[in-house]
């Protein structure tokens, strides 16, 4: 190896490693995160939540002003306050959150209400087979089939990790469906429309799969 090839080999080696990293680097974040002190990773995440929004601004909803409208195939449209939702049976779960772009947050502690309880309180008709979740962040929405929405770990969450849901995570109420990629877990849900067919949501109109099962959709 002559003098010149040392620098060139290092340079090309780095490029090669970086290119391979496109396919394999995700596992490196876990290692990186465990090497960094918690106080640092709270400010500068080596892994963990990324905050994605699509609208012109991020909704900022005062809990007292929050209303969840449920309409469509119901006896009569209903509107729930946050207190109304909290009065329904409280559900808790620990589940992982997978983003379609590759990042994962493990062991998130959620608390909220199951969809079945909301449907019951809203007087849903028996022919409902799809739900459209509309976000206060215009124009975001997404749909689930009734069967998907009634999975045992699907909820409308108002607490995360023991505290009221934070603004950037969809406060005061967001959808959580751990078995699908995160774009299905609509944030800032303020309207649920009950119908008979799912409609392509925001990201699905941009080419993502409607049934966003982990590891079985979106080419992943």
């Amino acid at each position: 190896m002559n003098d010149r090839t040392i620098g060139r080999a290092g340079f090309l080696g780095l490029l090669g490693a970086g290119a391979l990293g496109l396919f394999f680097a995700r596992d490196a974040t876990g290692l990186l995160n465990s090497a960094v002190p918690k106080s640092v990773s709270a400010i500068i995440p080596t892994s963990g939540w990324r905050i994605y929004t699509v609208g012109a601004s991020m909704p900022n909803i005062a809990p007292a002003a929050y209303r969840l409208r449920v309409d469509g195939l119901v006896d009569s449209p209903k509107s729930f306050t946050l207190a109304d939702l909290k009065a329904m049976p409280r559900a808790e779960q620990i589940s992982s959150f997978h983003c379609v772009t590759g990042w994962v947050v493990s062991n998130v502690h959620w608390a909220g209400v199951r969809i079945a309880d909301v449907l019951h309180a809203a007087g849903a008709k028996s022919n409902v087979s799809a739900l459209r979740f509309v976000s206060a962040e215009v124009p975001y929405d997404d749909s689930l089939t009734l069967k998907q929405a009634l999975l045992p770990d699907v909820m409308l969450a108002y607490e995360m990790d023991g505290k009221p849901l934070r603004r950037e995570h969809g406060a005061p109420v967001r959808l959580v469906i751990p078995d699908m990629y995160g774009y299905k877990s609509v944030k800032w849900v303020n309207h649920i429309e009950l119908g008979t067919a799912t409609q392509p949501g925001y990201w699905e109109q941009h080419g993502y799969d409607v049934d966003a099962w982990l590891g079985r959709s979106n080419g992943l």
Binding site: L22, A28, T46, R50, H206
Partner: protein, 206 residues
């Protein structure tokens, strides 16, 4: 008082390339951090706007770099790259902390340049796939975001070191003039970049 003799270290092409890259990098870093850090994302919250600025600055960066290389002093840039790639015996001694005469770039500057170019290309590659994957999900790869993130951490580290050496460190901060005016103090250059000055001007007068 007569001004001290100076020697040209960087041509216009080299300086233009440096400052174009620096400006683009800082803009991309600022917008990138807004997209990446939850606290900043929440505070700014106009993600679409920031994302568009980030992407278009990246495109402008790539075009500008290609134009400067194509229209500038290519011979000089090729000579730079040849020197930067060459880590000779003196450089290896210098890197081990011993005294060794250095060329126009010292070994640390060579490594900084190699890393900067490699990081820029990898930023562009991973950034392109972040953009494409959002439009065509066949191009979503597991580690694209991670590579882009890790590059950010590494480049910020490199930038901090580079700024310290260029602006603060007593024996290297004279080099900053070379990147602004193009010229450096000849006596300083003779001390810190002996092989270069001797190749240009011959050995010091007795």
């Amino acid at each position: 008082m007569a001004s001290r003799p100076r020697i040209e270290r960087f041509t216009r092409t080299e300086r233009l390339l440096h400052w174009t890259h620096a400006t683009a990098f800082l803009t991309l870093l600022a917008t990138g951090l807004i997209l990446y850090l939850p606290a900043l994302s929440t505070a700014i919250s106009r993600r679409q706007l920031v994302k568009n600025v980030h992407i278009w600055v990246a495109v402008a960066w790539a075009i500008a770099i290609v134009l400067i290389i194509a229209a500038g002093n290519r011979k000089r840039l090729a000579a730079d790259w040849r020197e930067i790639e060459t880590i000779d015996r003196d450089d290896r001694r210098w890197l081990r902390g011993r005294r060794a005469p250095q060329g126009r770039f010292n070994a640390g500057q060579k490594i900084n340049a190699l890393l900067t170019v490699a990081f820029a290309l990898l930023f562009a590659l991973s950034g392109f796939f972040l953009w494409l994957g959002e439009r065509d999900h066949r191009f979503i790869f597991d580690g694209t975001g991670t590579v882009h993130d890790i590059l950010t951490f590494l480049s910020v580290g490199l930038l901090v070191g580079h700024l310290y050496l260029a602006v603060i460190h007593p024996s290297t901060r004279y080099a900053l003039r070379g990147m602004t005016t193009g010229e450096v103090d000849e006596a300083w250059a003779r001390k810190h970049h002996a092989k270069w000055v001797e190749a240009e001007d011959g050995p010091p007068a007795r």
